[in-house]
């Protein structure tokens, strides 16, 4: 071995050097937050109620984005955790008469967490890592089974679900539909968003990125892949549980669809449409799909599902990274875990 060769002599051109110098993501987050903060001031009451529902669904979408977008675990049964928490708090309110926000929301979080731990333990904690197909079909089957169980169980209200759930309370104050519930949902959405942002930008987030990109490779580094998966899966179940319990109290009733395949598929579409692997993408996907559905169903009552379906198909076909890829470069979507980028090395995207 003789003298060393300058690295430049062996380097290939680097067309992929995308800019991180001017970050668009925080600006987008601020814009979305500002719009959300002022929305009830300009919307009519019935639209504020609708917007509250959308915020809660954004929370649900974040839970799915965490497992699929960040950890690469295809959970086709995310509604199990959403719906079971919804049913759980509805039963607590109906049978125990407890509606305090300090009890029902933690209970919903725990129910979602416990169901995810149970299902995740079965599907993910084998001696060797489970395949994507096994986990997708396992979660899908779980969702279908729980849906059927709810439909056939009289105690859970069968096909009709549990109607007329009492309002959630804080002391003597009742959270009815409207601006207060809207801001409550927004506060939870912001808190969960920040928690997810903190996690996904930490060294733990880097481990999740490794899991998503090549789980076999990282197992050879010494990562306990199954444990990582079970942890993030359970955490996402807890977030879905929070969303489900808020949803139950906001809507005032729960029904089997909340647990089933339709709801599970819907959350997949929210995240794929907006852009998996970016938290803001999950939020934008949910808002856009729900807003377009609302508008289309008012204006094209007979054919709106077809129009919406074609729209979703077009985005997924031509923008597989979701709407967010129209604005954010791949580098910014993936992010940087270790150290801030060198400004000098950035050229145009």
């Amino acid at each position: 071995m003789t003298e060393s060769t300058p690295i430049a002599a062996l380097a290939v051109p680097r067309p992929w050097r995308a800019s991180l110098g001017w970050q668009k993501l925080p600006i987008m987050e601020l814009i979305v937050l500002s719009i959300a903060a002022f929305l009830p001031l300009v919307l009519q009451d019935y639209l504020t109620v609708y917007a509250t529902r959308v915020l809660i669904l954004c929370l649900f979408a974040l839970s799915f984005d965490l497992v699929w977008g960040y950890a690469g675990i295809m959970s086709f049964g995310q509604a199990v955790f959403f719906g079971s928490a919804g049913y759980g708090v509805a039963l607590i309110a109906r049978d125990l008469g407890i509606t305090s926000i300090f009890f029902v929301l933690p209970a919903g979080v725990l129910i979602g967490f416990a169901f995810a731990l149970l299902l995740g333990g079965f599907l993910l904690l084998g001696r060797h890592p489970s395949s994507v197909i096994f986990v997708s079909l396992g979660t899908l089957t779980g969702s279908y089974a729980v849906d059927r169980l709810a439909r056939g169980w009289y105690y859970l209200g069968g096909q009709n679900g549990i109607p007329s759930i009492s309002s959630m309370t804080l002391g003597s104050y009742e959270f009815a539909e409207g601006p207060v519930f809207y801001y409550l949902a927004l506060a939870f959405l912001i808190a969960v968003y920040l928690l997810c942002r903190f996690l996904t930008r930490s060294q733990f987030g880097l481990a999740l990125a490794g899991l998503r990109e090549n789980e076999q490779r990282i197992s050879f580094f010494g990562y306990k892949v199954q444990h990582l998966k079970a942890i993030i899966f359970s955490l996402s179940g807890a977030i879905a549980g929070l969303a489900g319990s808020l949803y139950a109290f906001h809507e005032g009733f729960v029904w089997p669809n909340m647990l089933g395949v339709v709801m599970s598929t819907q959350v997949v579409l929210y995240v794929l449409f907006g852009g998996a692997g970016t938290l803001i993408g999950a939020v934008i996907g949910t808002v856009v799909i729900e807003s377009v559905s609302f508008w289309l169903s008012n204006n094209y009552q007979d054919i709106w599902p077809i129009i919406l379906g074609v729209l979703l198909l077009l985005v997924i076909l031509f923008r597989p990274a979701g709407l967010i890829s129209l604005i954010l470069s791949e580098r910014e979507r993936v992010g940087n875990f270790g150290r801030p980028p060198k400004k000098s090395s950035h050229g145009p995207p």
Binding site: M1, I7, Q203, E213, I218, V334
Partner: protein, 244 residues
């Protein structure tokens, strides 16, 4: 002192016997080459040692411990590190994050969540990138590297956790002559750090860096010895080297 000992490894895929009672012994700080024609069982032996394949029969001892049933993660935690035959860097991540990912593998969950070791590991990440002449590209995504540079990055990732044994499966595969020469230069300093088992088709390359060689043919060990012994082995010349 013996670091790795594989005894009587047999690996059967359906009707194919890929390994037939193969033995492999590697001492501490030894560079050991596995050579043989295509299909001789080199990569299968490597995979059985690394835990990517479980042998049908036989045992693998590492640092005196029987690790035959251990998972790849358990072997990595015991001090074994593997570079795959097919480059498997994480293309969307920067080079810096690729190396950090390898380095932080044995960090506790709470430290990962609160990013407690990010500062501590920074110097080691940069040192590995410097060692493999990739520091200038630290902020670039791994996908932007040439094939040869990706191979170097993967070796850097495998070496970053300071393993006792490094397993390299065809590290110069697909490289130009110049890149192979540089790879040889980059591997020389490793000799002070750990033992190495290397599968390679380039005999000149393997002669230059290895202390001992094991020659495989049709899943069995044909011969084993120092480079000089193997070069003068009548059996090897008859069955392998002349064919090559």
């Amino acid at each position: 002192m013996v670091l790795l000992e594989a005894r009587g490894l047999v690996k059967i895929f359906g009707k194919l016997t890929a390994l037939n009672a193969a033995d492999l012994t590697v001492a501490e700080n030894e560079f050991h080459g596995l050579i043989g024609p295509n299909g001789s069982g080199k990569s299968t032996l490597m995979k059985c040692v690394a835990g990517a394949e479980i042998p049908t029969h036989g045992s693998v001892f590492f640092a005196g411990r029987d690790i035959t049933p251990a998972t790849p993660a358990e072997r990595a935690r015991a001090g074994m590190s593997l570079k795959f035959q097919i480059t498997s860097v994480l293309p969307a991540l920067t080079l810096y994050d690729n190396v950090l990912l390898a380095l932080q593998a044995q960090t506790s969950l709470s430290s990962l969540v609160f990013s407690r070791t990010r500062g501590v590991l920074h110097d080691r990440v940069m040192a590995m990138l410097e060692q493999f002449r990739l520091a200038d590209h630290a902020d670039d995504p791994a996908a932007a590297l040439s094939h040869g540079q990706q191979q170097w990055l993967e070796i850097a990732m495998a070496l970053a956790p300071e393993p006792k044994l490094l397993l390299l499966d065809e590290p110069t595969g697909g490289m130009s002559l110049e890149e192979r020469r540089v790879t040889g230069e980059l591997l020389q300093p490793i000799k002070k750090q750990c033992s190495l088992v290397i599968v390679e088709h380039d005999l000149d390359f393997i002669r230059d860096i290895c202390d001992r060689l094991t020659v495989l043919d049709q899943g069995s060990v044909l011969d084993c010895g120092s480079v000089r012994e193997i070069q003068s082995s009548a059996k090897v010349q008859e069955v392998y080297l002349r064919r090559a």
